[in-house]
């Protein structure tokens, strides 16, 4: 310990940071409060920006807290240590007829991270965030006390920790509700979506009938094609006559950083064009395994290296729905005019199911997420322009994906931040937190 290491990064690989590394081995271990340095729990480092970094201070690595504690096969309630990954949970529970109540687009996150970011998925419109399914958890704070938190016990810490970005203490274990499934397959339909208006129509039409919906859109398409993309919707499959073969476990891993010139507006335009046109007919229905349905990018290990040494920004915002005149239209126009967006953008409707977290990101409206290769000032200026639209429309930007929003933006997006700040552990902090609570004009 007490040796600075640069080997723990955030997923966007920007900004860079160096840390003192301390590993948790057992949930009975204590937290190192005597170093005088602030502490931040770190799981698999899948947060895109600096919310999982604590530059110059301590990272508490939680991946060895990876033990299951109990699985009730009748009720589907699972209790496990905070470092258990969603991938490991799936490997245990799917065969027994259970699935995650909410899953993000990668299964390579820890349960602690899922709670700390109150993650959402393709079923947000009907089911809300991960935090809604958390029954209780144990939180170890720097005072050495293990707080059992639930909707009825230590309720304030419960609400602060869900979506609390790891700042309220170390989550030791989590107990949450799984959902029953018949098999590991989904009845999925992909529909070509010509523009934003059609996206709205498809979303509305699918809301009731489909548990999962999402659209991948070409963020470089403009004018009448603005919002052009592929709309994907699905439900867990019921009893299948014939099971398709499960996908292979093999993973391609990007071995090194790609040179920066590989990603330019021409290669990205070509990719987006091909992705849209690879589907020949306007509608395709098929039975697909849950892996390609929920985790298409997990098939490519370390895909963040494609963005080269300078890394990339991901931008995810939510703005009110407001039908055809939604501010999402202006945001997409700004992005397509800049020509800077990358690969596919994700568009999805959020529902109105409230989340227990004080600092939770999802709220009713439309959310857009996409990557921007880090091209320095130009990229930062574009993202600031997007922030202006989001701010003016009572929207929010997702901290788990952010590496650059201003303190002013954060404090506008999360009006309850001061209420949350009361529960931040005095020995905990993060690069993100120091940035967004800075006083501003």
């Amino acid at each position: 310990m007490n040796q600075y290491s640069a080997s723990y990064e955030c997923w966007g690989r920007f900004p860079k940071a160096s840390h003192i590394i301390h590993r948790m081995r057992w949930i009975t271990d204590t937290i190192p409060v005597d170093t005088g340095q602030k502490i931040l729990p770190y799981g698999l480092g899948r947060s895109y920006g600096d919310s999982c970094l604590n530059d110059g201070a301590v990272l508490l690595i939680t991946t060895a807290l990876n033990r299951f504690i109990a699985l009730d096969n009748t009720s589907g309630i699972l209790r496990c240590e905070a470092g258990v990954t969603l991938a490991e949970i799936l490997s245990v529970v799917v065969a027994r007829g259970w699935f995650l109540p909410v899953t993000p687009g990668t299964k390579f996150v820890t349960v602690g991270g899922a709670v700390a970011n109150d993650v959402h998925g393709k079923n947000h419109h009907g089911d809300g965030t991960f935090g809604r399914y958390v029954k209780n958890f144990a939180l170890l704070r720097s005072d050495g006390i293990r707080y059992l938190c639930s909707p009825t016990q230590n309720q304030d810490l419960f609400q602060a920790t869900i979506g609390g970005l790891g700042l309220t203490g170390l989550i030791l274990w989590v107990e949450f509700q799984l959902i029953p499934i018949h098999n590991p397959f989904l009845d999925a339909e992909t529909v070509q979506c010509k523009n934003l208006s059609q996206f709205f129509e498809l979303s509305q039409e699918s809301e009731e009938k489909y548990q999962y919906t999402v659209a991948w859109i070409d963020c470089l398409a403009r004018g009448r094609s603005l919002g052009r993309g592929i709309f994907i919707r699905g439900n867990h499959a019921h009893h299948l006559e014939k099971r398709p073969p499960p996908p292979s476990d093999s993973q391609i891993i990007i071995p090194v950083e790609a040179p920066s010139f590989l990603l330019n507006r021409f290669s990205i335009r070509a990719f987006n064009f091909l992705y849209y046109h690879k589907q020949r007919s306007p509608r395709v229905s098929q039975i697909v395994h849950l892996d390609p349905f929920f985790y298409p990018l997990d098939a490519i290990g370390k895909w963040n290296r494609l963005y080269g040494r300078r890394g990339f920004f991901q931008y995810q915002c939510v703005v009110p729905y407001e039908g055809q005149s939604s501010p999402i239209r202006r945001i997409l126009e700004t992005i397509s005019q800049s020509g800077m967006g990358s690969f596919l953008a994700v568009l999805k409707v959020f529902g109105d199911k409230p989340s227990p977290g004080i600092l939770s990101f999802p709220k009713k409206g439309i959310t857009l997420a996409l990557d921007f290769p880090n091209q320095g000032r130009d990229t930062l200026e574009l993202l600031e322009r997007l922030d202006q639209i989001v701010r003016a429309n009572n929207g929010a930007v997702y901290p788990a994906k952010d590496a650059r929003m201003s303190a002013a933006s954060f404090q506008t997006y999360f009006p309850r931040w001061q209420e949350f700040a009361k529960y931040v552990d005095p020995h905990f902090s993060s690069s993100f937190w120091r940035r967004v609570i800075a006083p501003h004009a």
Partner: protein, 245 residues
Amino acid sequence: MRKILLIGATSAIAQETAKIWAVKGDEMFLVARNAENLSAVAGDLRVRGASKVVTMTAELLDFELHQQIVTSAIAALSGLDLVLLAHGTLGTQKLGEADYAIAEREYRTNFLSFVSLLTPIANYFEKERRGTIVVISSVAGDRGRQSNYIYGSAKGALSLFLQGLRNRLFLCGVAVITVKPGFVDTPMTAHIKKGPLFVDPGVVARGIERAIQRRQDVVYLPWFWRFLMLVIRCMPETIFKRMKL
């Protein structure tokens, strides 16, 4: 479904190996010193699918308990198919150089406790005329080096002991597998700066299960250590004694 005795069950390598066994539905008898940690490991293995998990807390430096450990495991699982010995400590070489009492404790932990445990285990399997004994030794036992020759000589003695035991038990169909991990990223090596040769304990665990399936004699994990150690063993002593390894 195998009946397995796992000694040093809370060690990182043992935990990872046991996870593989749990998924296969094996029955396990776990022995470790810390009761709380041991019950965490047992709970994990139950959820993952182990069909039976029994635990026993024991301080392995108390040699008088060894016979009882083996007897209890055989009773609890109604027999044994496989034993994994994975306990151990990596002491500070300098402390052992300064104080023989510390060195002796290292030898008791990393060599003599194995001899003591393996005596009833070997006798049981010899009588059964079947079974598999897997023991975690170390590449450190392949050549004495100034930086850790106390640990190394304990492991070296252990490897030699296992060689003899393998020779004795071969005729009655009992396999003895010596596992020699290189650098593994575990609590045991927490104080050592991590280089590119370090691997996760899961890598070693998969290697152990493979060695059991193939009934191998001596396995280096990962495999490249076999060649690295070959080079190190081949160096003439006149040169080696001048090196700072």
